[in-house]
Structure formats: structure tokens, C-alpha cells
Symmetry: C2
Subunit: 205 residues, 2 copies
DNA sequence: TAGATTGTTAATCGATTAACAATC
DNA sequence: TAGATTGTTAATCGATTAACAATC
């Protein structure tokens, strides 16, 4: 699989394809065309073909794409063909909600540790995981081969948590805190601040 | 304020500017230059100036932008200078977490109603709001002038909730359900599926 | 005045879409 | 064979960045 510099926009669409293809798979659909995908996902069929073609020739001319095969290919592109371990920092309301996402993540991705700075919370269990103190973060990341961290702490604690995560060697961060994180350029951050989404939605009213 | 067709990318950055400007305001910073903003937010200063210039001349040559003034201007562009009422559908873990976001939303945006399809949950309170049955949704939207709906229900219930919301006249939807929603073209949907974000993050490992 | 910084135009860069030969 | 659909090139469209006159 060659990598001719894939744009962020393409990478963001791959999970959308995967999600829909999984639903087709569940419905025992054998093949699907770029036109059908475009119709269902509100995307241009040429764009879908081009996105997929960056990674290989997955379709058959005159036929379309074999659903099961394409699912496996996209999983492998997203590195979801191997185990991806995730940790969560912040055991508040949001952290509690996120810790229940394992059912949806499936596909070899799993939240396997939860941390909180509050000594009152340490030792308690949520979603079958025992809340650990931040001091144990670095060691746990190493021992359990954790690659992604989710930040669900207040804004004023977020940057310090990021530094823990970066030092521990995490490569990707999903940030729910309403603040701009500073990270070295080899760490990838995706922002998921709910207030941000609602504020931009307000523009279109 | 003229509207020369503002791109989605610009609209997504406005709340980022607002968030940072609010933090400057809290620190009693008077003025800020596009260069300083770019430095803090990891954006090109020319882009920031251009984004703001779509909506008016908010800065002063040789000086920069007056923080308090720019905050008010961006609020007004995002229509956060008037009351924006929001409802939430889904009182599960995620709904519970989201219902606590009112503190962050401030700026005239507020979640004022919560709905759930489960009769066992109806009548219970979360975050000071009483959970209502879906049957009351349409009437509540009208009575309370609700403009935005947040969907925090399972994927298989999401499309039916969307139709309730669209029929009721909601203009914007923030969708946490892991599914592609179908809406008429005058309704705006922002997707916020956590699994999607984590899956795209995995690509960069 | 000299230095700083905006608003804006022009240049560049990148992403989306159309078109079509190849082929199932 | 005729119709359908891919992979890919070329054309279009749009967004970002550089540059600079205006001006505080």
C-alpha cells in the first residue's frame, strides 16, 4: 500500500465508508457501486472512487465493490486490522459516557484504561474499568501498548494531561476539552468540543 | 453585514476564535493582532484576517483587534447575541453528560428541554430538566422557540428522531448517533460521532 | 517619523468533479 | 453484444497564503 500523501478530508471519509459498509454487510449485501454509496452518504461517486483508489484497486469494472472485501481493506487502511488500545482521562459525566463506547468501537479498538486526578474517584469502577491515578499513566501506556488518549477533563487541566500523554508516547489524542492543545508535531490531535459544534451550528440559523 | 457566501471552513473557525478571545478577555488583554492569534491557534495570520474581513472591518491598521469588540462581533455573526434554545433527545449516559454543558455554552445558548422515548425515564430529572416524552417534542419546540436539536440516541432510533425534529421546525441538528441522517436541504446537520473520530485518528498511528 | 498591522488583491496550492478509456 | 462501472486524467472549483498599499 503506497502513500501518495493522503489529505485529511480523505481520511475523515474512510470511517464514514466503513460505517455504512458495515451496515450493508449486516444486511448481507454483496456488492455496492460508487453511485450507490454516493447516494446513501451524500457524496460524489467520483470522489468515493478516487478516495479508495489512493490505496489500491478495490473494485471491479462493470460490477462495483465487494462489500466484505472493501470492509477489510478500509479496516486495514485505518489500522483497525490490529488491536488499537485507547485510554481515557477524566471520569466525570462525559468520561462516564465515553467509557461506554467500547460496544460501538469494535473493530479491534478498545478503551482499556481510565484515569482521573481526583483521589476520591481513584479505585472506583466505571464500565468494568478501575479508575487509576494520573501517576500510573506513563507506566500503563507502556505496559498495555496504548496508542490513543481521550481527554475528557476541564479546560484548565487539559494541557497538563496532554503533556502526560505525550511524554508517555501516545500518538493520537481526541480532545473534548474546550481549549487549544499544544503538542509536538508528531502527535495528532482531533478536537471534539461540543460547544464548538453547537456554536458553529448557530451560524446557520 | 453582507454575506458573500461563507465557506464551512470559515464558519468552523469562528467559534475557535471566540473561545480564545474569551480567554484573552478574562485575562484583561485589550488588543490582539492576527499574528498573535495565529501563533496561539496554529493558523495563518492572513487566513484569520481574511476570515474576519468577510464580515466587516473589525481591526485597526497598525494596532490589531480590540478583544472585547471582536468578541461581540463574532458573537453577533454566530447569532449568539440573541437567545438560542436547544433541546436534547436521549437521556442515556451521553445525554446525561451533554445536559451538563450549559455552563460552557453560556453566550445565550442553552439546553432547555430533554426528551427520551423510554417511558421509564420520562418524568425523571437530569441537570434540573424533567425528561419529557417524544410526543411532546413538537409542541415544546414551538412554545419554547427551540432552534437546535441534539441527538444522543442509538443509531437505529436516530432517523425517526430526526423526522420529529424536522417536522417540529428545528433548523440545526448535532448528531452523536453513529449513522448518516437524511434531512431536507434547509436543515443543517453536524456530525459528532465519537467512534468516527477515533477511527480516523487510528489512521495516523 | 518609523514600525506595526490591517484589509484586500493576486498567486498558489489543493480538493472536487467531469469525462472517458478500459473492462467486467 | 450492450450496459454498467471502475480507475484515472484533465478541468474546475475553492481555499489558503503571500504580498503590499493604506494607515494607525
Amino acid at each position: 500500500m503506497k502513500v501518495p500523501k493522503i489529505s485529511e478530508a480523505v481520511v475523515k471519509r474512510l470511517p464514514v465508508y466503513l460505517r455504512y459498509l458495515n451496515s450493508l454487510k449486516a444486511m448481507n449485501v454483496r456488492t455496492v457501486s460508487s453511485h450507490q454509496l454516493g447516494e446513501a452518504l451524500d457524496l460524489n461517486p467520483a470522489q468515493i472512487r478516487k478516495d479508495l483508489a489512493y490505496f489500491g484497486e478495490f473494485g471491479r469494472k462493470g460490477i462495483g465493490y465487494e462489500v466484505n472485501y472493501l470492509v477489510e481493506k478500509i479496516k486495514s487502511i485505518l489500522k483497525l486490522d490490529r488491536q488499537v488500545n485507547v485510554l481515557l482521562v477524566g471520569a466525570g459525566h462525559l468520561g462516564h459516557a465515553i467509557s461506554n463506547y467500547n460496544a460501538y468501537l469494535k473493530d479491534n479498538m478498545k478503551i482499556i484504561s481510565i484515569f482521573d486526578a481526583d483521589p476520591m474517584k481513584v479505585g472506583k469502577k466505571i464500565a468494568n474499568l478501575t479508575i487509576q491515578p494520573l501517576e500510573e499513566l506513563a507506566q500503563t501506556v507502556k505496559e498495555k501498548d496504548i496508542r490513543i488518549g481521550i481527554i475528557a477533563v476541564p479546560a484548565d487541566a487539559a494541557q497538563s494531561v496532554v503533556e502526560h500523554l505525550v511524554d508517555a508516547g501516545v500518538a493520537g489524542i481526541l480532545n473534548f476539552a474546550p481549549t487549544n492543545l499544544r503538542v509536538p508535531e508528531w502527535v495528532r490531535v482531533h478536537d471534539a468540543d461540543v460547544t464548538m459544534e453547537l456554536h458553529s451550528l448557530a451560524y446557520y440559523l
